[in-house]
């Protein structure tokens, strides 16, 4: 067992303990204490949840709201949480369902409302970026372009392939965890991951070749 896996297990145990404690406190009507205990869980999962929500929504404000909604929903429905499932998995399922609902609502809205000509919402102003140890503006621009291209390619994937790719590759979930999160078979998870990678390579292949050429030219000059 690796160190990270061991840490994951202890983290999961701590999560289950905290979730059970919050549940018991809620049942006793000690709400202030229940909230205090729940704060531990929020603190432990907040960053990861924000990352997942951002990868789904591609909008900071909406991702923020989705995370808040998921935590509030998880707290109010904690009585239905079963200890045999890790809290992380149960909570992530709530979060992903919320994100998918929001995406559906956004798609419906965008059918009627013309999109703003600006870049993605929540993007920081150029002036806000402070010069210092940050990478050079050129590198920043290239990185941003690369991210944008990847995000666009990801958006072109079918919903299941996208979810499986993001959870297993970005979040480092095992196929069993992804299966528990998405409700798919483990073998189906593998097939979706394989197809997602093939498709992403096909979509980004030309762009990557071009980028490699530019990089080579930069190195030579």
């Amino acid at each position: 067992m690796t160190g990270a896996q061991a840490a994951g297990f202890t983290g999961r145990e701590a999560d289950s303990g905290a979730a059970s404690a919050v549940k018991a406190l809620q049942a006793e009507g000690r709400h202030a204490e229940a909230r205090e205990r729940y704060a531990e869980l929020v603190g432990r999962h907040q960053r990861r949840a924000s990352r997942i929500a951002f990868h789904y929504m591609r909008d900071v404000a909406e991702a923020d709201e989705a995370v808040q909604d998921a935590f509030v929903k998880a707290y109010s429905h904690l009585s239905s949480f079963r200890e045999e499932l890790p809290f992380e998995v149960w909570f992530t399922r709530i979060l992903i369902n919320g994100c998918l609902d929001r995406i559906k609502a956004r798609t419906r809205r965008e059918r009627w409302i013309a999109p703003m000509p600006d870049g993605p919402a929540g993007e920081r102003d150029f002036g806000e970026r402070v010069a210092g140890n940050d990478p050079s503006p050129e590198d920043q621009l290239l990185a941003r372009e690369r991210r944008e291209r990847l995000a666009q390619a990801l958006a072109k994937l079918p919903e299941r392939q996208r979810s499986v790719f993001m959870l297993s590759h970005y979040e480092g979930c095992t196929s069993r965890e992804v299966s528990a999160l998405t409700g798919l078979n483990e073998s189906t998870v593998r097939v979706h991951l394989f197809r997602a990678i093939r498709k992403l390579r096909a979509l980004l292949g030309d762009a990557n070749a071009g980028e490699a050429k530019v990089e080579r030219r930069r190195v030579h000059s």
Partner: protein, 219 residues
């Protein structure tokens, strides 16, 4: 005979396997190898990858590309969700939880509204009834007075006033006399007519007589 066929079949299979293994892995093959590794979490030796440096380099390039994508995605999300933003989010979550647990506040209805309406309902009803009754009585009495007006005797004051306004002509004498005011008016008008018909200045009188008048022309 059977054993010979079996041997030949085995040879064909081994040749095919060798051909398959010697052929370079395409993108799908590389993706399959990567997926197997990623989902099982264990690096499984692949016979062709072990022997082919070209495919090994391509596999390494694919792995690096996916690793970069992961690092980029994580860095981007972390850039947007700074520590301040996360702490604001944390505070917001707990504000919402507190608000959800607090019992709903019932806003009291204005206290005077209900008693006022109940207390004043009787009085206002009586006032309205009295006003209506007064109006009906007033209208009725007014109508009655109007109807009886021709039959009622005039008051002494009004008769005296009427006598003063009308000219006093004794009917018994039989002589028709014009009122004083009328004779005066008649004299004034005839004087005016005369003065207008003749020239006021004696020197111009001759000239005036020669000038034809509008009345003469019409005649």
């Amino acid at each position: 005979m059977r054993t010979r066929v079996k041997r030949k079949w085995r040879d064909v299979v081994s040749i095919l396997n060798r051909l398959r293994l010697s052929a370079h892995l395409d993108d799908a093959g590389l993706a399959a190898v990567w997926t197997d590794e990623a989902t099982s979490g264990v690096r499984q030796p692949h016979p062709h990858l072990e022997s082919c440096p070209t495919c090994r380099a391509r596999f390494a390039e694919l792995s690096a590309w996916l690793q970069n994508a992961r690092v980029d995605a994580t860095a981007e999300a972390d850039e947007y969700f700074s520590a301040e933003r996360l702490s604001a989010q944390h505070a917001s979550i707990f504000r919402r939880l507190e608000a959800a647990e607090r019992p709903a506040r019932v806003i009291a209805f204005p206290r005077f509204a209900q008693p006022l309406t109940s207390r004043t309902s009787h009085a206002s009803r009586w006032i309205a009834a009295a006003a209506a009754a007064g109006l009906i009585v007033g209208v009725g009495v007014g109508q009655l007075m109007d109807l009886r007006h021709p039959f009622t005797p005039q008051s002494p004051r009004t008769t005296a006033q009427a006598r003063m306004n009308t000219p006093t002509v004794p009917i018994s004498s039989g002589i028709q006399l014009t009122p004083i005011a009328d004779t005066r008016d008649e004299a004034f008008l005839s004087e005016l007519d005369a003065s207008l018909s003749r020239a006021a200045v004696p020197e111009l009188r001759a000239l005036d007589e020669l000038t034809p008048r509008a009345g003469d022309r019409s005649r």
